[in-house]
Amino acid sequence: MRILIIEDEAKTATFLSKGLKENGFSVDVVDNGIDGLSALEQNNYDLAILDIMLPLLDGWSVLSVIRNKDIQTRILLLTAMDSVEDRVKGLELGADDYLVKPFAFSELLARIRTLLRRGTATEIQKIQCADLEIDAIKHRVTRNNVRIDLTPKEFQLLLLMARRPGEVFSRTVIAEQVWDMNFDSDTNVVDVAIRRLRNKVDDPFENKLIHTIRGVGYAFEQK
């Protein structure tokens, strides 16, 4: 998957490029709007991360030019401007998503994956990871063929992470996806929920599947 980063802030561009490369993407970086525009026109990128405040040509203009030329690269806008009007403007001009600085890298990664997945495979209904099996339709979880009883929210939480093994989920994303809390709350509800889930899913077993990525969030994966 090829990703283009159009960002004039060198440090931001560097950590984005590094993080994305380490997650298996091939990444190009340009630091102004004109170069960004020609790169998008000449190459076939799967996704571009576009800053709004750019030298020479701003992000809005880059966005509207490529959409006018019918270039269908997915665009994720990255900005420090956080007003509802800006969001609406971005989406109206044809951006696929909008992320406000400061953001967690894990969240950016999650959004990129969602954007690239969009329109492809349907959600997997049966998941197998090591000796854990999840049946999304029957709401059944077994480990080592032993049935594990989960509350509906615990099940949702496990399913969310198990469907994308290896992906890091921040507390904010988990609260949003599982409980529909669309704002950052400073409680440790998610930590408590993960602890309970571990209690049932991981604690009785040698092979741990739920991992804490300290300072970032949680991930589900067989290590």
């Binding site: 704002f183 950052d184 509800v189 300072g215």
Partner: protein
């Protein structure tokens, strides 16, 4: 005044405006008054002339009655009258009024008996009023104004004369040429004009002077206000020596200064608090990074430091997020999109979210909504409830209960109450509880506390809804927060 640069051009000075106003008022009053005066003088003069004419006719009647003279003597009489009037330009009865009276006498068969010499200037076609020949008492007088500039009074009357033991009737036609009376009226007009001009000038000048005097306090107030800046907001404009109207203005201004002073104080307190809030996490970031780099460490150590730094950064990021939310909420242009929904639904969502945390702390969360519907923005309400429950959980010990209830009042407003059985808040701290970065317990560990913005956000969301938030608390008994939402406006669908 450099500040005036962007102002619209100011209107004329008040003193000038008032002076013009005074002058024009005086002008119109004087004009009307002198017009009336002039008209009444004219009227009076005409009445004088009429009475002069009728007096002359009466005089003639009297004369005819007493003596039986007609014919030759009549000429003498008329001539004499003519000359007399021309010579003196005044009559014995009405001294001071110049006049020329011309006479004609007709007999009953309408034959001209005699007439005085009419001057050329008098048109021949003057029509005298008709008089009933039986009536020897009345006199009719009309005023005519033929093409020429001159005015005439025309009088007709029958007189009885006794001649050769025979009574005869004679028609007297008298004509009084009204002289333009130049001297008298012109003098009068001149005086009136002079009075008018002088009056207007005098009132303009006094108006200007009086206004300047009256506005002097305003200039002094302006001077005082010039000395006020953000650092001297306690300067008093109302020194108590102004006239009542100005004192009211000065007083209002002083009150505004007090409010501004408070706002400035709050703003600078907020900036100080913000800097203080940032200082600790930034200090932690700098410190840990610096210490980490001071010597070579194991990768586990580096990892731990980075993890700790990310936590600090997340605190800062959340603070920025919440401050931006507050700033947006305070922007008067911000609008919310309220909908009507059952409160029970939101209660269920929020208690489900906090359920695990609460049972972890052995605190129960219950709710009771009585199937009430609320008109509000559900996302914002969720944030309000989340902040309040998170606070309640923080201060409620094991075995405590957090209760959410909803009720409607007589005015159709909906109130939601969040009650906890926690440690409560000191009553003296309640007024500041919605201030940004306010924390009841300063000694608490930073990590265990929220951002200090939670209740400020609650308040701003309630303000956005046009609602209210009330808080009451008793130490060791618990805290109760009441959210009052206004009823759904009737006009909206």
């Amino acid at each position: 005044m450099p500040l005036n640069k962007n102002n619209p051009p100011s209107l004329q000075p008040l003193a000038k405006k008032l002076a013009i106003l005074y002058a024009s008022t005086t002008f119109s009053v004087l004009l009307i008054a002198s017009g009336l005066l002039y008209w009444s003088v004219l009227d009076h003069l005409q009445k004088e002339h009429e009475s002069l004419l009728s007096a002359k006719i009466v005089e003639l009647r009297h004369y005819f009655k007493d003596s039986s003279l007609l014919g030759e003597t009549l000429y003498d009489l008329i001539d004499a009258e003519h000359h007399h009037s021309q010579a003196t330009h005044s009559s014995a009865i009405h001294p001071g009024i110049p006049h020329h009276i011309f006479l004609r006498l007709y007999d009953e068969q309408n034959n001209l008996l005699v007439e005085s010499n009419l001057p050329q200037s008098i048109p021949k076609n003057l029509v005298f009023p008709l008089v009933d020949s039986q009536d020897t008492q009345s006199i009719s007088i009309i005023k005519v104004n033929p093409e020429s500039e001159q005015l005439f009074l025309l009088g007709s009357a029958w007189a009885v004369t006794i001649s050769d033991q025979q009574s005869r009737k004679v028609l007297i036609q008298a004509l009084l040429q009204l002289a333009p009376d130049e001297s008298l009226l012109t003098d009068f007009q001149r005086t009136l004009t002079a009075v008018l001009i002088f009056g207007v000038l005098a009132s303009a000048l006094t108006g200007f002077w009086v206004t300047r005097q009256g506005l002097r306090p305003l200039r002094q107030i302006t001077k005082t206000i010039h000395n006020i800046n953000a650092h001297q907001l306690n300067e008093q404009v109302n020194s108590g020596q102004w006239p009542e109207e100005i004192a009211l203005l000065a007083n209002a201004f002083d009150q505004m200064l007090v409010r501004l002073d408070q706002s400035f104080a709050r703003l600078s307190q907020f900036s100080a608090d913000l800097a203080h809030e940032l200082r600790t996490p930034v200090n932690n970031l700098m410190g840990t990074a610096e210490v980490a780099l001071s010597r070579k460490r194991s990768s586990e150590e580096y990892q731990e430091i980075l993890e700790s730094n990310i936590e600090e950064c997340q605190r800062i990021a959340r603070m920025i997020d919440e401050l931006l939310f507050l700033a947006r909420a305070e922007n008067p242009k911000t609008e919310i999109t309220p909908v009507l929904f059952p409160i029970a639904k939101e209660f269920a969502v929020i208690t489900e979210f906090y359920d695990m945390l609460a049972s972890d702390q052995q605190v129960a969360i219950t709710y009771q909504s009585n199937q009430i519907e609320l008109y509000a923005d559900p996302n914002l309400l969720r944030r309000v409830l989340s902040n309040l429950i998170s606070n309640a959980l923080r201060y409620t010990k094991a075995q405590g209960i957090i209760t959410l209830t909803a009720s409607t009042s007589a005015e159709q407003s909906v109130s939601i109450t969040i009650t906890d059985t926690g440690e409560g808040i000191d009553e003296t701290l309640l007024p500041q509880i919605f201030d940004r970065f306010f924390r009841a317990d300063k000694s608490r560990q930073r990590e265990k506390q929220g951002s200090g913005l939670g209740l400020a956000i609650v308040k701003s969301i309630m303000d956005l809804h046009g609602g209210q938030v009330l808080i009451s608390s008793q130490l060791q008994q618990g805290t109760q927060v009441e959210l009052i939402f206004p009823p759904k406006p009737v006009y909206s669908a």
